[in-house]
């Protein structure tokens, strides 16, 4: 019971911290002091108190989308176990729901973007769904590997499989899947090299351009939702990268938080040492993710 509370508390509170850590890492590389680690929390509080400007051409989709997106991501977050603990929600086949909750959030973000009728937002939506066509198969391949390894269709059991297996036979697959999932993490959360979260240039954006028309609390919800998504996908990745367990609940929770922060640092480092990819090369990267996860599966079936 306590573990479920901790799970929900972390899911609700920790995500904005990750972005703070990423930005701090980037600032360190750039020789700057950077914004405070808690900056996103301040931003969210500020946005929550602001008014909302809603374009007259939009419909209910525009206002509902941020809420639906956040809800979908939160539900997905309830299915992903953190560290060696059980997830609050688990049933056979929940991996399908998990994948489609992510898809649902994307559907509403892009629909809200199209709803504004702006050329930029349509462009962003087109890019988002184009790249999603490639990132979703990668996710499914990764899940397939885990399902095969664990012989289960419950997300909790699947993600705990690397912990239980530990054999040499599956190690190679796991390394490949970890690579694929890391690319997926960067792509899904619009980080460099796929997207640049800091740019102000409408024409180059993917995710940011879709939310240009949102303001105030709605924008706050979107920013928060994006942070939660980063958190949830990082939690998935951590099971494969750090399949460790100490036995003590307290130690395991601290370890999980630490691993989470390390992931954020890793993302920050990637963003610091390389330039963004040219838009037409993004698909190559995503195809690489599919291939990595796909070969992981092939290795396992051998």
């Amino acid at each position: 019971m306590t573990n479920i509370f901790i799970h929900i508390a972390l899911l609700l509170i920790m995500p904005p911290l990750l972005l703070g850590v990423i930005n701090k890492t980037k600032a360190l590389f750039a020789g700057r002091r950077g914004p405070p680690v808690l900056q996103l929390y301040y931003d969210l509080i500020k946005l929550a108190r602001k008014g909302v400007v809603i374009s007259q051409v939009t419909t209910w989709v525009f206002t509902a989308a941020p809420v639906i997106t956040l809800t979908a991501i939160m539900l997905a977050g309830l299915m992903v176990p953190m560290g060696p603990f059980q997830s609050p929600v688990a049933f056979t086949g929940d991996l399908i729901l998990f994948a489609y909750l992510l898809a649902l959030s994307r559907f509403f973000t892009t629909t809200a973007a199209l709803d504004t009728g702006s050329a930029f937002e349509g462009m962003g939506a087109a890019r988002e769904v184009t790249f999603a066509c490639l990132s979703e198969p990668a996710l499914f391949f990764a899940l397939l590997v885990l399902a095969k390894m664990s012989g289960s269709l419950v997300l909790t059991n699947m993600l705990h499989a690397p912990l239980a297996a530990g054999s040499q036979a599956s190690a190679a697959s796991l390394v490949l899947v970890a690579g694929g999932l890391f690319i997926l993490l960067l792509a899904e959360n619009s980080r460099i090299p796929v997207d640049d979260p800091n740019t102000h240039l409408e024409l180059t954006m993917i995710h940011e351009v879709m939310v240009l028309d949102h303001s105030g609390p709605l924008l706050g919800i979107i920013l928060y939702g994006a942070a939660v998504k980063l958190f949830v996908l990082s939690a998935v990745l951590l099971h494969i990268v750090f399949p460790f367990q100490s036995g003590s609940a307290l130690l395991d929770w601290s370890l999980f938080v630490l691993e989470m922060l390390l992931t954020a640092v890793a993302v920050g480092v990637v963003e610091s040492v390389m330039a963004r990819l040219q838009m037409r090369n993004v698909q190559h990267l995503l195809i690489a993710a599919i291939l990595l996860c796909g070969f992981g599966f092939v290795l396992l079936m051998r």
Binding site: P193, L201, L203, T204, S272, V273, A275, R276, Q278
Partner: protein
């Protein structure tokens, strides 16, 4: 009977009597201009001026013969409200003709794309009129600006796209029009220097130098060598600051953070060196007619030498990292191509022209001031892409640092000010300066009393915006900001 010469030949920084400038009938005028431009000369400036006779307008054209470091001037008088357009044969005149059309109500007959450049009176707003359209089911139009997401100047961009592919880009400017050319004539002469300094905020020293050179040419003032050396140091410092800032901005656009933030700081260091010269980071007050506003003592020369060495080291670290990172090169190479022949046709100037392999640099081709004595090697690259435009900047940074060092080491003695006499009546003075963005051209005409009656300014942006539009053809729309940064053109310099 003497035969009238076709053109009057002069050099940069001189003035000539208006009566000596050959005036041809429109047909001969256009014949000569066409022949010379096809023969390799380029139009530096083409402008109208009141003729003094009702219903008539004088047109002057300045052609640069870079091979012989000469400037050729000729004129014609237009009666009535139109003249045949030369744009179809000499593409580089297209914007000049549009400008003449809106300033003097003369219609260039046969101009392929006659639209306002800035405004025409008060009734027509900037950015209006038809835009070139590509028709088709799958084609969509993306319009950006004049209000942008970042804090930049206003400009309107129309893309004709097929998905992410750009077929055509049309740029409409004019939102920043302040009427500087008029103000330079109508306002008291004292203010003119300040108008020049604020023509384009990032080219204060360049435009101030060009203006002062015009005044000096008209008054027959002989500057001291020390003043010329100080001016060139200020001009090169301006180039250093802006080139460094540009490279940082290019790095920022492709999300390469280390270079982006370091260059931002190093740009500040270079600006502070300008402040060391004259107390202002942008060099305001440094250049005044007759010389410079401030002198340098030995202590400051030494301090500048020291700071320059630090700046050089930091800049090398940050910028070499940029050119050594494969993911960066993948973004810069082959993007935004501006072939050399197009560069020639459009009359592109500055680093953008040199990045397309053109050997075109006022400091080299039309030297004035200290550049007549000190030859600067020309930096060029021939890949015509964003990489070339970035790399030429880096080459120029290194050369400017060497140049300033050399000037500081052998600073000529003497005063920094020379007397400015009254301006010669009925004269025309030309002054070209290689600003960091390219060629700045200032031309002034004086009347019977010696007062300036017409002041014409051509900022490098005026030539180069069309180059950007061309470079975007067949590119990805997401690469536009990067291409744009690689040119980094001025809106207010164009809009005047």
């Amino acid at each position: 009977m003497t035969v009238q010469p076709e053109m009057l030949t002069t050099i940069n920084g001189r003035s000539v009597a208006l009566d000596q400038i050959p005036r041809h009938d429109v047909k001969t005028f256009q014949h000569i201009v066409r022949r010379e431009i096809t023969g390799g000369q380029r139009a530096v400036s083409f402008f109208g001026a009141e003729s003094g006779q009702p219903g008539c307008t004088d047109l002057f054209i300045l052609l640069a013969n870079d091979e012989y470091s000469e400037l050729n001037i000729l004129s014609t008088r237009i009666e009535g409200g139109q003249f045949p357009s030369m744009t179809p044969d000499c593409n580089q005149l297209h914007l000049f003709e549009r400008e003449i059309a809106e300033q003097f109500g003369l219609k260039p007959e046969g101009h392929p794309w006659l639209k306002p450049v800035r405004y025409s009176g008060s009734s027509i707003q900037p950015g209006t009129g038809d835009f070139y359209r590509v028709e088709g089911e799958d084609i969509h139009e993306v319009s950006v600006g004049p209000v942008h997401a970042g804090i930049i100047e206003p400009g309107h961009f129309r893309f004709q796209c097929h998905g992410e592919h750009v077929y055509h880009l049309e740029i409409a400017l004019g939102y920043q029009h302040r009427g500087v050319e008029k103000a330079m004539v109508e306002q008291p002469a004292k203010r003119a220097l300040h108008y020049a300094e604020t023509l384009a905020g990032d080219t204060s020293i360049g435009h101030a130098t060009a203006y002062c050179q015009v005044v000096e040419a008209l008054s027959g003032c002989k500057k001291t060598v020390r003043a010329q050396a100080l001016r060139s140091i200020a001009l090169e410092l301006e180039r250093l600051a802006n080139h460094t800032g540009d490279l940082g901005a290019i790095a920022n656009d492709i999300g390469f953070l280390p270079t982006a933030s370091y260059c931002g700081r190093i740009r500040g260091d270079f600006l502070n060196m300008t402040a060391l010269l004259c107390g202002n980071r942008f060099g305001r007050g440094m250049i005044i007619p007759g010389g410079t506003g401030y002198d340098m003592d030995d202590a400051r020369i030494e301090e500048l030498q020291e700071r320059l060495s630090d700046g050089e080291k930091d800049a090398a670290n940050a910028i070499e990292l940029l050119f050594e990172t494969p993911s960066v090169l993948a973004r810069l190479e082959g993007k935004g191509l501006l072939p050399q022949d197009i560069c020639k046709t459009l009359g592109i100037v500055g680093p953008a022209a040199r990045a397309s392999g053109l050997q075109r640099d006022v400091r080299h081709d039309q030297p004035s001031g200290i550049y007549r004595f000190v030859q600067l090697p020309l930096s060029s690259w021939d890949t015509c892409d964003v990489f070339a435009r970035a790399y030429v900047r880096w080459l120029e940074i290194q050369q400017s640092i060497d140049f300033i060092r050399e000037q500081l080491r052998a600073m000529p003695a003497g005063s920094i000010q020379a007397e400015i006499g009254p301006l010669k009546p009925r004269h025309l003075a030309v002054s070209l300066i290689e600003g960091w963005r390219g060629e700045l051209c200032h031309v002034a005409l004086t009347g019977e009393t010696g007062a300036v009656t017409r002041y014409k300014i051509v900022d490098p942006s005026f030539h180069n915006w069309m180059g950007l539009a061309y470079a975007m053809r067949d590119q990805q729309i997401s690469d536009f900001p990067l291409c744009n940064k690689s040119f980094n053109l001025s809106y207010c310099g164009h809009d005047l």
